[in-house]
Subunit: 478 residues, 2 copies
């Protein structure tokens, strides 16, 4: 059978890029021009370009066309996926957690460990301008409690933005929280009692694991693929086998794996959990940083019954210090509202006002469009550096959004030892061991590619590469 | 036996005040002048004036002497104290809570129900000036996480202020929280597991009861006297009889009773709980609003073993919308720090910076000294109005600080019915029933005397007085 027309075109371009005939950074013809040249439909060219983009060969730049990049196949390979049949386990203290938190607080370290980008990425000047205006127009901005569900100005803007994915949220269904993690914790408390089991994807951000531990919940660690997302087959078997109080999932720009689950799988996920009466807590904090021209949809957008609790925040796009998050908790709205009241009474007023104003002004949309490209560039720079300076046998994700890279070192490397040795050399990187209760990722690292690409970050990556190489060779000798 | 000299002098002045020979608002001789006139020590006069102040006859005004006030005995009597032997009980849903929260969010009501003063009391202009400076000097104020324990600038200032009561806190022992209620909840979670029993004072603020409920804890309601504070005898019997995971107490400017426990009883309280290995969670949010020239000491200042967890916030002095609270958790510091991390990751940065600056500038001390007099005046105005327009048989506290009044209506009155009927007439007042799990205060009201005294608030009090009178007479008829 003939390959489809789009694939023909795409593969030709790919081989030109791989051979170097089309050099890095070169702008390729626009969709319209190529469609005219090749006498095929615009849709065909678009599909060819999507195919190339998914393989890392080209990248769209807002309003200025497509540019050649280093194809993924020239990078080190993607991580191995190890499907493991899960069983419910208690979450004990997370080893090294205190050390890691202490590193996160230490100034002067080159931080590839925190999940926060370089400060320059945030629109400080614009936000400060709004702040000044708010102070002037509402001098008593902080003189009263903004009781749950929170500031209506902000909830209205969040609801309005849901139209982009057909959400049609009602502002009264939004509860403002002190950042995304509070949203997730309130949802967990609303749907699960201590001793019950929560299904999670692994690897999962250790802050969430620590929260689950503090709530006295058990976890069921569902294997998650770095491209496909949560293993739906395993999830289904697990839901049949075990009593599960909730599923915690991050289908868009997953942290740390970077994948975006495809839309039909999101639908399957939502249907599956609905069928098993398992509430879905969706962590959506990175979705708006998806690379490419369009935003993927949250799983929540496939929810017709109120079974999905959508949690998000402005920490990744405007700055984590504002502590402005939110949740649309579906049928658990009242429970979450009450829990917000009983756990922190209200969210700080001034940050809510500032974020609401920025959203209303349209500045937020422009800003988010811009930083998606910034982060895509950062990730490109980091992946190339890691390819160059990490020991052979290293594997690495291809994030579809956000700024988190997941690096798999050769099997016998210990990321915790590496973490400690890197600290001594002034570099903070997070060991993978703490992304699973069963410590399934002892040879992995989470790398924050949100930092500006500079000689400093390049040097930090070289340090980690060196240390990893030492570990590998000493492990071989040992 | 002769009465002591101070009492002689004090009682003479009292009768002059009661007879009207010394009229309301008249300035009485200064301590030095009177000591010279009467040829007794300054200490004796000071003691006489303290006695008069405790009976509401006079009031010190900062740097300008003592002024005549309406003595407490011209007011309606103080509430009855009903000692009830407590037993551990589960905290169910708090009836009317949703209605009350919804009233708290309703604009245009005259709010005698919220526990927040008139916005004009807060130093908005000064804080906004600092805000502008912070924005200018640290444009990236919100670009990173202020991980627990929180901003060092703020923790340093909080520690410094502890010197005033001999606290000598270490900044590293302070954890910044999103307001006082988060501090209390983190402490409860650090010391008590679901199903365990927490001893509380009653009446207790319903937000705290709701928090206890949400944590799945039981309560032991220790009777608390409107002047003496928690019934120490009953507390001791209870600690002998029941296994108690923590005591939650508010010995200074108690809300809603308004008492300041005397210093030796604070010491006894701390020793008693230490002896029974029961951690003490001290709610200190109103202490700095104590009336008079000196601040009472927190119970924490009598703690030598780290058994007292001191919780406070700037909500009552600078504005609740900043959501800046803190805790010195003694030997539970690490547990509380970790719980802060797992429940909201960090506290908003900008409010922390602004409060820290205001504290460092010395502006905070001046501001607090000022508003203590403001609130004392508010309380005076409210108590007189209540004396005038509430039905006979009404009783009322004599707050020693803060701005909360506790009003006991004649026995058969229902504060919940009153709450609903007042709402219809545009007035929000909190029913006492929700200040105890066993609903021991069905005929009580909490009145927020933090509002400016105006024709509006006077009218609102008249409405409540009228409704209360109707209830009383209809109850009599019924």
């Amino acid at each position: 059978m003939e390959p489809p027309a789009y694939l023909n075109i795409a593969q030709k371009l790919e081989s030109q890029i791989l051979s170097g005939a089309l050099g890095l950074g070169v702008r390729i013809p626009s969709v319209r021009v190529l469609s005219a040249q090749q006498d095929v439909s615009v849709a065909t060219i678009l599909r060819a370009y999507e195919w190339l983009e998914a393989r890392g060969c080209i990248k769209a730049h807002q309003r200025s066309g497509y540019y050649v990049r280093a194809p993924f196949q020239t990078l080190i390979p993607e991580p191995e996926f190890r499907p493991v049949t899960p069983y419910p386990i208690n979450v004990g203290d997370i080893p090294s957690m205190d050390e890691i938190l202490s590193a996160a607080r230490t100034p002067d370290l080159i931080s590839l460990g925190a999940s926060a980008p370089n400060v320059d990425v945030f629109p400080a000047a614009k936000l400060n301008k709004i702040l000044r205006r708010v102070i002037c127009e509402s001098p008593n901005h902080s003189a009263s409690y903004d009781f749950p569900p929170g500031r209506i100005e902000l909830r209205r803007e969040i609801a309005r933005r849901s139209l982009a994915f057909g959400g049609e949220f009602n502002p009264n269904d939004i509860v403002v929280t002190s950042g995304g993690i509070e949203a997730i914790v309130l949802c967990l408390r609303a749907v699960a009692r201590p001793g019950q089991v929560v299904a999670i994807e692994i690897p999962t951000y250790y802050g969430v694991l620590a929260a689950i531990q503090s709530l006295g919940l058990k976890v069921l660690e569902i294997p998650t693929h770095h491209n496909e997302g949560i293993d739906l087959g395993e999830l289904e078997r697990s839901l049949r086998k075990h009593k599960v109080a909730a599923l915690l999932t991050m289908p868009n720009c997953n942290s740390p794996l970077g994948h975006v689950m495809n839309e039909s799988n999101k639908q399957r996920l939502v249907d599956l959990c609905e069928r098993h009466h398992v509430p879905v807590i969706e962590n959506d904090v990175f979705r708006e940083l998806a690379f490419g021209e369009t935003f993927p949809r949250p799983a929540k957008s496939y929810d017709n019954t109120g079974n999905v609790l959508l949690c998000s925040s402005f920490s990744k796009t405007l700055g984590p210090g504002f502590r402005v998050g939110w949740v649309h908790a579906g049928k658990y709205r009242d429970a979450v509202t009450k829990l917000k009241f009983t756990s922190s009474l209200a969210t700080a007023s001034l940050p809510q006002l500032v974020v609401a104003e920025f959203l209303a002004s349209g500045g937020y949309e422009r800003h988010v469009r811009r930083i998606r490209y910034t982060f895509s560039d950062h990730v490109q720079a980091f992946t190339h550096a890691i390819t160059k300076c990490f020991p052979s046998g290293t594997k690495m994700t291809r994030p579809r959004g956000g700024y988190i890279l997941w690096v798999q070192l050769p099997k016998r490397a210990s990321s915790e030892v590496l973490f400690r040795r890197a600290l001594k050399r002034g570099v903070f990187v997070t060991p993978g061991s703490i992304f699973s209760v069963k410590q399934q990722f002892r040879n992995c690292l989470r790398v924050n590619a949100g930092m500006l690409w500079s000689s400093k970050t390049a040097g930090a990556l070289r340090v980690i590469g060196e240390l990893a190489s030492e570990r590998v060779s000493s492990a071989k000798r040992g």
